[in-house]
Amino acid sequence: MTNEKAYEEFKRRIRRKKIIHWFQNLLLLFFIIVFTFPIYWIFIGAFKQKGEFFHYPPIFFVNHFDFENFQRSFELGGAKGVRDSLIVASLNALFVLILALFAGYGIGRFKYGGPNLSFFVLSLLFAPPIIAVMPLFVIFKNLHLIDTYIALIVSYLLINLPFATWLIKGFVEDLPEEIESAALVDGYTRFRAFWKVTFPLILPGVVVATLFVFVFAWNEFLFALIFTRSSVRTLPVVLTELIGGHGIQWGELSALSLVATIPSILLVIFFQRYLVRGLTFGAIKG
């Protein structure tokens, strides 16, 4: 008799678990819809014709997929935008990667500069970029660097280097020193120990840091708005140029926005497995 009761109890528990599981899936689906809807909206916007934007009721589905908007947006500066953004973001990511790797390792492993340097980097992390715009503007103006790639790459260094350094420092700190000591005992030089032993182990963190730095530089707007004119035009600036007061070109804007999002999406897809681990690599060992 008790066996039957236990069995009933068991079945009931399983059913309950299944219901909860389905409810959780539904909730998750709801969230996914909510978080994807705006992206979907840009997507269909890229294929809408002019009249379809100011239509009531709003148009939720498009049945024509021509690339007119994309073409037009490229003519209107999109091509240059993609090129310049690529140049600036890649170069910036490269420089930051190298510099942050060295600095992060030095501070993380050897406590170089003590708590003061560490706090200096941290406080730079906390500083809002807007405070640097006017001073840098005046400085660049006097150095005749307005509207150059250098201006952007250098300013982005200011924003991204502290962030990347701090991230990498964290990863390095959580790596036990013994691993490197073992390599040293085996006769490795310090640099080789770093390169052959430490670096591969902190790779997820480095990948994530570089990814974020690239995306930050690719998406950066404020500095680009003020420091560039016509020789250098990154995507965020080109996008705003499509926002005329007497007529916003929504179709071209949506199309170019999609194009602007592609690199970031690709990066996310390729480095997805690093994202979750790398973001918290250093912080996990509470």
Binding site: S230, T240, I243, G244, H246
Partner: protein
């Protein structure tokens, strides 16, 4: 014998051809960077690029969002890199840009390539092109507000009868501001009610206006303020915006809001234009480009029914007094740090004179007439509307321009106007009463004047008042 003549003829012909070719290339292959606000008003630069190439000028076009034109230009002027050669901007900034030496005086170029300033509407030329006695800009877009109304609704016998029964007078586009409220109220109907014989499928409203800060929203308040004799400042730079005239004008807008679409406070240029030409409102004050777009079947649902007349005013001493604000507008100028000023001027002149008629009469741009030759040419505007309508349109514009009221043109004008629009907004949302809002704005204006140097501002404003009087705008 004949052969020799033939040879001479051929040689002469070839000589002629080469001189023509040489003449065509006026400039030694320069690149001129043009700056304009983004959107349809930058199109002419694209359209005529091939023609400019024939005379040796390659056009490179940079645009910026409408609301950021000031920062973009000012940033470039301060940096002084010569990145822009010919620029399009709003005359609102003329006082500051010319006063700070950012623009190149154009008088000597005007002697070489005549821009026919005598052909430009006197008010516009005097107010928006000259500063300190020198020519700094050429007109590009002649903005002035007019009253637009749905002809079909106002001419509908049913509506006319209804109105007469209710208000004991004829239905007509409001001639005074008091009339405006009545007419707006009359035409505000809910979905399902009848309008001009048809049943409405969505709510309909009597009036709408621009409320968005940074979109020249203050002009909708200025219309009544100016018609009541209001001025921005008195001779000692004391703000007069909070005078009884100002408060009445602001109260009027607050009073008409129940008869405007519920989202009216988010209205910028696009929204107001759509409200009229997509058939949601009965009338509004708007720029001249609204007429072009209202008659363009590709954009509008009210083709053929776009009525246009002078802005409402007040009755003073038995006479009707009205003032049409001239907000925005566009002028072409040459940057003082341009490396090719003459070529830049050439581009400006072609756009301001040679091509201007084509540009202002097409619905593809938002550019509006500003030359007497434009006003006298209704045929050019008949591309999409009957000539009689074009005549009505042009005469309304001319009338409004004759009684136009200019934008404030002092150093810091962008700041004064921004503050004013912030406080107008607070009155619209009922956060403050009209009087409190305008008093606060006036107090801010005083602070700005102090900061910019009162003595200097007084001097510049006095000159401004003088030129306004000469242009016949002020008594």
């Amino acid at each position: 014998m004949k052969k020799r003549y033939l040879i001479i003829l051929i040689v002469l012909g070839l000589l002629l051809l080469t001189t023509i070719e040489a003449q065509k290339k006026l400039f030694p292959d320069v690149t001129i960077t043009a700056f304009c606000d983004a959107g349809h008003n930058a199109l002419p630069f694209e359209w005529y690029a091939p023609e400019f190439e024939k005379v040796g000028i390659k056009i490179k076009l940079i645009t910026a969002p409408f609301a950021n034109v000031y920062e973009k230009l000012k940033t470039e002027f301060v940096a002084g890199t010569g990145a822009y050669d010919v620029i399009v901007f709003f005359p609102l900034y003329l006082g500051e840009f010319a006063g700070m030496g950012y623009l190149k005086p154009l008088d000597e170029y005007a002697k070489k390539y005549n821009p026919r300033m005598d052909d430009v509407a006197k008010a516009f030329a005097k107010l928006y092109c000259y500063y300190g006695g020198k020519l700094y800009t050429l007109p590009y877009d002649g903005d002035v507000l007019s009253l637009y109304y749905r002809k079909d609704l106002f001419n509908n016998p049913e509506e006319k009868a209804k109105f007469k029964a209710l208000y004991k007078r004829e239905l007509r586009p409001p001639v005074t501001w008091d009339e405006l409220i009545d007419v707006a109220k009359f035409f505000t109907r809910k979905k399902g009610e009848k309008l001009a014989g048809k049943v409405l499928t969505e709510d309909f409203y009597g009036y709408a206006f621009i409320a968005q800060r940074g979109s020249f929203a203050y002009a909708w308040w200025l219309a009544e303020f100016a018609s009541r004799g209001g001025r921005y400042f008195d001779e000692n730079m004391k703000p007069m915006i909070n005078s009884p005239a100002g408060v009445t004008a602001l109260q009027r807008i607050v009073d008409v809001m129940p008869y405007c679409p519920p989202d009216v406070l988010s209205y910028g240029y696009e929204e107001l234009k759509d409200a009229l030409i997509l058939g949601r409102i009965a009338m509004c004050l708007q720029w001249p480009c609204n007429w072009k777009k209202g008659n363009d079947p590709a954009q509008s649902k009210i083709v053929g029914n776009v009525g246009i007349t002078h802005v409402p005013g007040i009755i003073k001493d038995g006479k009707l007094v009205f003032r049409a604000p001239m907000p925005c507008g566009r002028v072409l100028a040459v940057s003082a740090s341009s490396r090719n000023p003459e070529a830049a001027y050439y581009v400006a002149k072609v756009l301001s004179y040679d091509k201007s008629l084509a540009d202002v009469s097409t619905p593809k741009t938002g550019l509006d007439p500003f030359r007497i030759s434009h006003f006298n040419n209704p045929k050019a505007f008949a591309e999409f509307a009957p000539e009689s309508e074009a005549k009505e349109y042009l005469s309304a514009l001319r009338k409004n321009l004759t009684y136009g009221y200019p934008d404030l043109n002092l150093p810091g004008s962008a700041e004064y106007i921004d503050v004013l629009e912030i406080y107008l907004g607070k009155a619209y949302t009922k956060e403050m009463t009209p009087k409190a809002a305008l008093d606060a704005a006036a107090a801010e204006w005083e602070k700005i004047t102090e900061r910019l140097g009162r003595a200097n501002q007084i001097k510049i404003y006095k000159d401004l008042l003088q030129s306004w009087k000469e242009a016949g705008i002020l008594e």
